[in-house]
Symmetry: C2
Subunit: 329 residues, 2 copies
């Protein structure tokens, strides 16, 4: 692969630098006017054989998803994405056209959310494909929402419905036929959507104390809020909104859809701790503005309680990475 | 590897966030006050089996070198490094202590150049280690130096001496005994130094038209300036400063040290196009301030001339990636 050709092709695909960008891709570093108040930076790496397999995902989807994961992190801080750099470790069997397709997917997501690619590094890989994105963003000083502000008594709300991404992954890896919710589940896994608009609508109407995007899975991600906020979180098992496609796939696989919802990573839904009395107006406003539902799924409790899943009969299971475990043997 | 433990250990190693950083590592994204005038961003990925082999480099050196490569890019734009995010794809045989060591190396470089690590992603890799760093920096509006401003008649100068990194790589991979310049060459390859102070001294005294750091090798990197500036560059073979350790290793290997100097990547020396009448005072000032020599190695010519290496007898060879090729068969 000729490096000059590649850079030229990528430059052409990216087009002229966006507003405030003085030097884009192709120099030692990009140069830009920083955003007004505060800036964000985040990064995510996607590894072949760990995060994806090339037999069920296209290069365009890989590029898009890696960018979405970063845009989602910016959303979960209350910000807007701005400028991305993209490192690709290219295995021997990947062609120039494949690299173009990967960039196309990443660029498409950037355009949709007002970001641009301003730099990158394309190196060879002796084995699998690795894509690593770092993304900057901007955020208003009074809009920053970390994981660290949840207080006892807060409600825990979630955007959208859960389980679809994990259902899609299982449908893809187990080769389920394309019927019923299987198609939706696959799409949910391959082309997820970051919740920029939902985060903004939420900040407009509520005073979020802590926010995170579901990237590891609900059962893991509530622990991130709990640890950073020094609180516990009790989820109400019956309240967790299950994606219809996850219910359908779970039935086909003979498993509990709630398990899918708790374990499902890369959902990119937002989990937010807000004052209990703001739940109703928040749900109404966010749905009115974005079309995305907001559901109260539990509340913030003392740190000594840890993170639990409370069943209708009052039994509480400890939440753990990838699901839950019964507290008693 | 327990993710919480890892994040906690890394946080402890990093210490409290630096000036202007409101949220450091451990949230969805870092939050910081942008630098005053202009900001820079760059990224570099290092892949096991391509950029390094673990049999001759420590994890600390890998972390340090990946950070140095980025700091060097910031230097070559005329700026100062500020905030880094670090993605690590960890192979199965790498321990927690190895990850700590890698971070330690990266942190050490950050501290030396006034930067900090504000985020990262640590994921598993089915095969080799991949380290990907993105680094932001700050630069004064009138200090930005791109690759694109060289004009015909400019002198091409270089900091330091060349060939050491490639000599070290060959000494390491060919197992040369530690005598003479071999030790220095290995050190040069394993623990390179970015030229932040040299770039600043150069900007103080001269009006650099174009600048790049030698990361691919002199013969490739002059092409980057030439392409971006739409000029040609003629290097004077006899003027290229050869690192003594490169001369020593070349002798042991029975090769031409000039070949090492042209092909040697990861040197992180600066190649700069400046007005011809500024060469003398630039060399004096940079050496006085930093102790690093500056040598005129050629000049900028018309684009139609391409990039060439001119021998004492006047014969010009075309520069190509990794060295040169004779213009006539």
């Amino acid at each position: 692969m000729a490096e000059f050709d590649l850079i030229e092709r990528i430059r052409k695909a990216i087009g002229p630098p966006g507003h405030g960008t003085l030097v884009g891709l192709g120099d030692d570093a990009a140069v830009y006017k920083p955003p007004g108040q505060l800036e964000l930076i985040t990064c995510d790496a996607f590894v072949e054989g760990v995060h994806f397999r090339r037999d069920y995902v296209t290069f365009e989807e890989i590029g898009a998803k890696c960018m979405v994961a970063n845009v989602s992190d910016v959303a979960a801080m209350g910000g807007f994405p701005a400028r991305a750099v993209l490192s690709i470790c290219v295995p021997p069997d990947m062609t120039d056209e494949d690299v173009d397709a990967l960039y196309r997917g990443a660029l498409d997501v950037c355009r949709r959310y007002g970001a641009e690619i301003v730099g990158g590094d394309t190196v060879s890989s002796p084995s699998g494909l690795v894509v690593s994105v770092a993304l900057t963003g901007s955020v208003d000083r009074d809009h920053v929402v970390t994981r660290a502000g949840a207080v006892v008594g807060d409600a825990i709300v979630v955007t959208g419905a859960l389980g679809g991404s994990e259902a899609g992954l299982r449908a893809l890896t187990q080769g389920l036929p394309e019927e019923g919710g299987v198609r939706d589940a696959k799409r949910r896994h391959l082309t997820p959507v970051p919740r920029i608009a939902e985060a903004q609508a939420l900040i407009e109407v509520a005073t979020p104390h802590a926010m995170i995007d579901v990237s590891d899975g609900l059962s893991s991600d509530v622990w991130h809020i709990a640890e950073e906020s020094s609180v516990g979180i009790a989820l109400d098992a019956d309240s967790i909104p299950l994606a219809p496609c996850a219910v359908d796939v779970a039935e086909r696989l003979g498993i509990d859809p709630l398990e899918l919802a708790l374990a499902s990573g890369e959902e990119f839904e937002l989990v937010v701790a807000i004052p209990e009395n703001e739940v109703e107006r928040t749900a109404e406003h966010v749905e009115a503005v974005t079309g995305t539902g907001v559901t109260c799924i539990g509340g913030v409790v003392g740190a000594e309680m840890g993170c639990t899943l409370v069943r209708p009969d009052g039994v509480a299971d400890l939440l753990v990475r990838g699901g839950y475990e019964h507290l008693s043997e």
